[in-house]
């Protein structure tokens, strides 16, 4: 059995955070997504929920293996408590899309950086994950742009919902990028700058999309 190094331990915590967000988003996409504004959006939300829950299950099982677990995979009874609070708090279509986009951008930055390090023991699974969530990002981005260009109070409500999520996502990204064990064992690059890139991505979305109604 491979030794569970400090880096692997840190990496499993990152994977668990991602899995927890996906686990909670899976439920939220069903609960709130059913009331999406169009039939295509609702159908896609349900399909994405299945995808998120499937990814969460795969990640929990992978964490079990990385920690040296053998034999049958443990039953997944719930998330491990690392999901972002704003994902729990999403309670309408606007806050759900804001949560989805925030999580998608944050996860994508970390996963792509892990993939770029080309660690043979993780690259295949990370590559599959990134590939399978491509359309999720298009969805949350597409809806974000749509809401920022909508009429009435929707743009300002969306902007407010998105801005509320930023501090928690930035805090998590800073924790990941500053984890010396992850860097030392080649899971992420030195000076990955996740938090900075995250802010730039969000600023780019907010900046180029028209004026915001009061």
């Amino acid at each position: 059995m491979a030794q569970v190094t400090e880096g692997i331990q840190a990496f499993t915590l990152v994977l668990e955070s991602i899995a927890d967000n996906k686990y909670v988003l899976g439920d939220q996409l069903v609960d709130i997504g059913m009331g999406a504004p169009t039939i295509e959006a609702a159908t896609s939300a349900i399909a994405m929920a299945q995808g998120e829950l499937g990814h969460a299950r795969v990640l929990y099982n992978w964490v079990f293996e990385l920690r040296g677990g053998t034999g049958p995979k443990p039953e997944i009874r719930g998330q491990t408590g690392k999901a972002f609070q704003f994902v729990h708090d999403a309670n309408d279509w606007i806050s759900l899309i804001a949560a989805l986009y925030t999580v998608d951008v944050a996860h994508d930055l970390v996963l792509r950086n892990v993939l770029e390090q080309r660690r043979a023991d993780v690259a295949t699974r990370i590559h599959k994950l990134i590939k399978e969530q491509k359309e999720h990002i298009l969805y949350s981005y597409g809806w974000s742009v749509s809401m920022l260009n909508d009429q009435g109070s929707i743009p300002s409500r969306y902007r407010k919902a998105l801005e509320k999520n930023i501090p928690e996502a930035v805090k998590w990204l800073e924790e990941v990028e500053n984890n010396s064990a992850l860097v030392a064992e080649g899971f992420i690059a030195k000076d990955a700058g996740f938090a900075k890139k995250f802010r730039e991505t969000i600023d780019e979305l907010l900046g180029k999309k028209g004026t915001v109604a009061v």
Partner: protein, 78 residues
Amino acid sequence: MNPDIEKDQTYEIFARINRGDNLMHIGTVKAPSDELAIAYAHFVYDEEDWTDMFAVRRDHLIQIKRTEPLFEKEGKSA
């Protein structure tokens, strides 16, 4: 929320199951942007593991020939 459905474009969705198969028209989606059209098509038409999938905005299709009506429209004939 009441999105302006009028702004949505209709996209025709085409796909093929196996490499080398003919491209089939499998349906349509309505979306306000190319990004959402791609996402909707991916999630809505997931009954097959398509090799290729394409979305074309309906107003980008070039009309070459069109069926003519069999009868004159009522009240229009001289």
